[in-house]
């Protein structure tokens, strides 16, 4: 009898103990995840905060999320003495992103559609054709020489688009989206005498809207963020995209001063640190603004892509 009560006590005690430890663990998870999210966000907030600070207060007090001395000087510099160059870089980036994304989505969707036509025998070979470069690559040097010497991409607008126009990962992602469209639709259209081109245009293209938007976002982000291609091929400043302009600004203190002085014709003092941060904010601004809209598609893309990478 005593033993039984004792046992019972032990059990209840045990029960409370485990649920308490579960709760503890769960709270820990909530906190850890929250902290990680803050760590992800904090650097961006730091850039925003600094960009709205007074330069002197940054040099004295350091970088801050909440500016100690509010100032719009950095943005005035960006719009003023650096205005023309930054606007130019912005236009290049927008032009590259828009043309590049449209071209990439169409080219990739067409290819992905072909990979998805079951009766088309060579599709296995095409699959391999696309897949092999994902694993093996020639490396930087032969690629660089080919592009500059044989394709003449130096200082060419197309140099910022063509080399990353076709991304195998995105094509496979699209193929996975296409796969989820019922084949009967295409079959029925075929019986009605529709050509492949028409089936692609009328059935697959409109029905895979979510997939196209997802892949389009991935492409757009990669074009927006790219500075590698500019680094390799662009010397003329009229063709600098925003990221490459920012890269030069961050890497070379003289660059920013030269820029401002050249446009004004006389020497001025530029609030260096805050201007850099303001340029960063201008660069990531569109991504952050579009993010709430885009993140639904992006999360989906990440998951669909993971199913069969």
């Amino acid at each position: 009898m005593i033993e039984k009560i004792h046992n019972h006590q032990k059990q209840t005690k045990n029960h409370i103990k485990t649920s308490a430890s579960d709760r503890f663990l769960q709270v820990f998870f909530y906190i850890f995840i929250g902290l990680f999210a803050v760590v992800c966000l904090y650097p961006l907030l730091l850039a925003v905060g600094t960009s709205f600070s007074d330069e002197v207060s940054v040099t004295v007090n350091g970088y801050r999320v909440i500016p100690r001395q509010f100032s719009l000087e950095a943005y005035q510099t960006i719009l003023g003495s650096l205005g023309k160059n930054i606007l130019n870089a912005y236009c290049v980036t927008i032009a590259v992103t828009v043309t590049g994304t449209l071209l990439s989505v169409v080219v990739s969707a067409a290819f992905a559609f072909v990979l998805n036509v079951r009766e088309f025998k060579p599709r296995g070979a095409l699959n391999m054709f696309l897949y092999i470069p994902m694993i093996f690559s020639a490396g930087l040097l032969p690629w660089y020489i080919m592009c500059t010497k044989y394709y003449h991409l130096t200082d060419n607008f197309l140099a910022l688009i063509l080399p990353c126009c076709m991304n195998a990962f995105n094509v496979f992602l699209l193929r996975n989206f296409f796969r989820s469209i019922p084949e009967e639709l295409a079959e029925a259209a075929k019986i009605d005498g529709a050509s492949y081109l028409r089936i692609f245009r009328v059935i697959y293209f409109p029905l895979a809207k979510v997939g196209l938007v997802t892949v389009g976002l991935f492409y757009a982000l990669s074009y927006w963020n790219d500075y590698y291609l500019a680094l390799m091929f662009i010397n003329k400043q009229q063709l600098y995209p925003l990221q490459y302009y920012l890269y030069n600004m961050l890497a070379n203190v003289q660059f920013i001063a030269n820029q401002a002085n050249a446009s004004l014709g006389y020497n001025i003092n530029i609030p260096l640190e805050t201007t850099k941060m303001a340029t960063i904010c201008v660069t990531i601004g569109p991504i952050i603004l579009l993010y709430p809209f885009a993140q639904k598609y992006i999360t989906k893309g990440v998951i669909v892509g993971a199913v069969k990478g």
């Binding site: 485990t18 430890s21 579960d22 663990l25 769960q26 998870f29 995840i33 929250g34 990680f36 999210a37 803050v38 992800c40 650097p43 961006l44 730091l46 850039a47 940054v58 350091g62 970088y63 080219v107 990739s108 067409a110 290819f111 559609f113 095409l126 391999m128 054709f129 696309l130 470069p133 694993i135 093996f136 690559s137 020639a138 490396g139 930087l140 040097l141 032969p142 020489i145 080919m146 592009c147 080399p163 076709m166 492949y196 081109l197 963020n225 500075y227 590698y228 680094l231 961050l250 850099k276 941060m277 660069t283 990531i284 991504i287 993010y291 709430p292 993140q295 992006i298 999360t299 993971a306």
Partner: protein
């Protein structure tokens, strides 16, 4: 015997291969048309450069190009091996950094995934998830710029914190010894959230009845993670790990350039093969060394891909790359 019977079955159809090809194109020319732009781009920027690998046997000059330059046999390799120390440093750095990225990156990603899975509050989950993958979509240039604000000698956030605790300032940008650690943290910041979601979607696909029955049997949360989630996740982790062996010789030039600006002070720990090739070829115009190192990277990379694929095959044939 077989072919005669086939001919009998369709006496009108011609078995000649040329006609068959013509028939194929007549039926499928539109599909080939659709695939053409993608094929052309892949050919131009992936396959044709591979042929440029012959550069390693050439005395390259810009005027004659890759194919017109005179052959020199193995002379470039002799030069390469006599100047091997710098290339060896770059190789070591590449491998060490990639190992760090993979080990610590995977550890954090799996931890995040397991924790995401236990968050019951839908809105909290959504917000933290979208914040965690945000850095993935921020360029390395921007990340490098902000990192400078964190690590600067005077005014940098970390140094300010150190000073406020009465400690000495650390001159990060002149001290190569910190950079393996810093680069790994940057990599985790940028990619762990993204990879965490991938692992999380894997966990979400696990059989929930396992968890329910474990809970009925009195297994607490920690035990459920330890004895169900982690073991079920293990194959995925191992495969990702093995696949990353194939990429251990390749580095991210853009990341390194934006974060360290190829500062000569930091090259000791941050000079990877890609930056080495970039510096020697595009910086100094030294095609001999650059091409030799580049080729050595490609060949070893190729061998490692085959090796990791073989290992994956040993582990689970399903997940082989080819």
């Amino acid at each position: 015997m077989k072919s005669t019977s086939r001919q009998k079955q369709n006496p009108g159809g011609s078995p000649r291969p040329l006609d068959r090809i013509a028939g194929h194109f007549q039926k499928y020319y539109q599909l080939w048309l659709l695939a053409l732009p993608g094929m052309a781009l892949t050919l131009m920027f992936a396959y044709i450069p591979m042929s440029g690998l012959v550069i390693v046997f050439k005395d390259y000059n810009y005027k004659d190009g890759i194919f017109g330059s005179p052959w020199v046999g193995f002379k470039n390799f002799e030069f390469f091996f006599s100047n091997f120390s710098k290339a060896w440093r770059a190789t070591q750095n590449t491998i060490i950094l990639n190992l760090f990225y993979t080990v610590f990156g995977t550890a954090v990603a799996v931890m995040l995934a397991v924790m995401f899975n236990e968050i019951r509050h839908k809105k909290y989950l959504k917000v933290t998830q979208s914040l965690s993958i945000m850095p993935y979509f921020i360029s390395w240039v921007v990340a490098g710029g902000i990192l400078r604000a964190l690590l600067n000698y005077d005014g940098g956030t970390i140094n300010n914190v150190l000073v406020s605790f009465g400690m000495e300032r650390v001159d990060f940008y002149n001290n190569p010894k910190y950079w393996r650690f810093i680069l790994t943290l940057c990599n985790i910041w940028k990619g762990a959230g993204y990879n965490g979601i991938i692992y999380f979607s894997t966990i979400a696909g696990f059989d929930t009845s396992l968890y329910e029955s474990a809970q009925v049997d009195g297994a607490n949360l920690w035990k459920r993670i330890r004895y169900i989630t982690i073991p079920l996740l293990k194959p995925t982790i191992i495969i990702m790990f093995l696949l990353s062996i194939g990429k251990i010789m390749s580095g991210d030039l853009t990341m390194m350039m934006s974060i360290t600006n190829l500062s000569p002070m930091l090259l000791e720990t941050t000079d990877i093969i890609d930056t080495y090739v970039y510096r020697s070829v595009i910086g100094m115009g030294d095609f001999v060394m650059g091409s030799a190192v580049g080729i050595y990277q490609s060949i070893f990379g190729f061998a490692l891909v085959l090796f990791s694929n073989w290992l994956v095959g040993k582990f689970d044939k399903e997940y082989r790359l080819f």
